[in-house]
């Protein structure tokens, strides 16, 4: 914990020193960015945009999981499915998120559905790959053991297979979230009249660096809060049985 705080303090110090070396309008320091953020909050400008972005992130992540998890599991357990699908997962991974966004906006329209579909499609391949690898590590000897003790199929699925896949589902949620955040702002930038991405683009056009940094800071803080406050805790609760590995 001490090391982590030290590393954050170091980064802030570096930012502050850089800001001193550069013109104030080009790189404002951490204090200016924070004050700007608070002012925006006070004006009631932040929450509506943050809320709509969070909504898109959640929707996009849900869709990405809905596609990626079954595809990944299917590829992990069925060789034919693997042969048919792996090329498409690779293709899906290669296509830039901007392409998904543009295609969705043209085909579906400039609306929330297109936004969520674009986000979901971009993140799904990474999630599928994660699960695909995860399913391959399943220890089927444990299934054999359960069968010896005449444990039913449903119970084997829930109590032997699912716990083995869960760490990978959890890891793909975390990874997916990281990807989805980044795509969400990009999609908002090109096709939405609101959201964090829209605001960033707006301040970029006005060349207001203090605002750009304030919104980037907001974004980062919210992201960290979700990661450390929710996902880490959840992981700790779910996988407390695992040995702690010291490296």
């Amino acid at each position: 914990m001490g090391l982590r705080l030290g590393s954050i303090a170091g980064a802030l110090l570096l930012w502050w020193l850089l800001s001193l070396a550069m013109p104030a309008n080009l790189l404002p320091g951490p204090v200016v960015a924070t004050v700007t953020l608070f002012k925006d909050f006070a004006q009631g400008d932040v929450l509506p945009h943050l809320a709509i972005t969070l909504l898109r992130v959640t929707g996009g992540l849900a869709l990405a999981m809905l596609i990626g998890v079954p595809v990944g599991i299917l590829m992990g357990i069925n060789q034919r499915a693997e042969k048919v699908l792996d090329i498409w997962v690779m293709v899906g991974l290669t296509v830039p998120s901007l392409c998904y966004a543009i295609i969705c906006f043209i085909l579906i329209g400039l609306n929330e559905l297109a936004t969520i579909v674009a986000i979901g499609l971009t993140a799904a391949p990474s999630i599928a790959i994660n699960l695909w690898e995860g399913v391959k590590t399943i220890d089927f000897k444990l299934v054999q053991m359960a069968r010896i003790f005449e444990v039913g199929r449903t119970k084997i699925l829930l109590r032997v297979l699912l716990p083995q896949v869960m760490p990978y589902v959890m890891a793909s949620i975390r990874m997916g979230l990281g990807i989805v955040w980044k795509i969400a702002v990009l999609v908002e930038l090109i096709g939405r009249p609101n959201g964090v991405g829209f605001k960033l683009f707006y301040w970029y056009q006005l060349a207001d660096m203090a605002q750009v940094l304030a919104w980037t800071l907001l974004f980062t803080l919210v992201m960290l809060a979700i990661e450390l406050g929710i996902l880490k805790q959840l992981e700790h609760r779910l996988f407390g049985w695992r040995p702690r590995v010291g490296l």
């Binding site: 000897k141 444990l142 054999q144 053991m145 359960a146 069968r147 010896i148 003790f149 005449e150 444990v151 039913g152 119970k155 109590r159 032997v160 716990p163 996988f239 049985w241 695992r242 040995p243």
Partner: protein, 270 residues
């Protein structure tokens, strides 16, 4: 030579069992009969088909031909590895096995108390597998296989992965447990001394068949270092080597080069 007729109905009766993996015959017309409450060790080199035989008796694999009849449908199985669920404590692992079995719920707590105490793990019931040593994990697996109250206990080199000292302790424990609970045990191993110490009868297996049979006439309870066990061991090893050197039979063999499972694995045993 095999399937010697014993009193009453046998606990396990195997007749003309056939199994092949692709072109490779693993079990060839195998006959064996195991009496109720008998402790039988199947001794054979790697690749002799002994694990396959055990898996077919347990219903984990299907045979290509022949018949297996079990006197008691309740079968316990101890694998070479503990195969515990790592996310459950020792006791929850036993509960996991108990949920599918016919043991009355009222008896379960008592059984767990009894067997955990018997293997010396009463204090470790709430430990996760990764917090236990290899020998302790295998003991938990033993408790698990005993708590379901099987009439027949199948064991596939259960102490093969452990250090000699731990393995030795567990062998002594196993005999004590067997004496108290009187189950039919089929114990697969490639360790001749282990077989002689444990068994009433040692079956020597090679190339998919039972090649020899040795009755171990050492009175019980046995001492691990009893010279009588050493004497039987000498005899068993001699006959074991003779059986392993027999040429494999290949009924209906197609001309061509077929890999020999014994030659391939004769370099070392796991």
């Amino acid at each position: 030579m095999t399937g010697q007729v014993k009193r009453a109905a046998p606990a396990i009766s195997v007749s003309r069992l056939q199994k092949r993996f692709g072109d490779l015959p693993v079990l060839i017309d195998l006959d064996v009969s195991i009496a109720d409450k008998e402790f039988v060790c199947i001794l054979g080199p790697s690749g002799s088909g002994k694990s396959t035989l055990l898996n077919i008796i347990a219903g984990l694999e299907t045979a290509d031909g022949g018949k297996v009849t079990l006197g008691d449908k309740r079968v316990g199985y101890l694998f070479q590895e503990p195969r515990l669920l790592p996310w459950l404590t020792a006791e929850r692992n036993v509960d996991f096995a108990l949920q599918g079995c016919a043991v009355p719920v009222a008896r379960r707590a008592e059984l767990k108390d009894h067997y955990f105490a018997l293997v010396g793990l009463a204090e470790f019931r709430n430990y996760y597998p990764h917090q236990l040593s290899g020998g302790m994990r295998q003991r938990v697996a033993l408790v698990r296989s005993l708590c379901v109250e099987p009439g027949i206990l199948l064991m596939d080199e259960p102490f093969g992965g452990l250090d000699e000292l731990t393995a030795r302790r567990l062998r002594v424990d196993l005999l004590r447990i067997w004496r108290e609970s009187r189950k039919t045990i089929v114990f697969v191993t490639h360790n001749a001394y282990e077989a002689c110490y444990l068994a009433d009868r040692v079956l020597v297996m090679a190339h998919g068949r039972i090649r020899d049979e040795i009755i171990v006439n050492v009175p019980r309870p046995r001492d691990y270092d009893d010279t009588a066990v050493f004497d039987v061991n000498r005899d068993v090893v001699r006959r074991f080597l003779a059986a392993a050197e027999l040429q494999p039979e290949r009924p209906g063999q197609v001309p061509g080069i077929v890999p020999d499972p014994v030659l391939q694995s004769s370099g070392g045993m796991p």
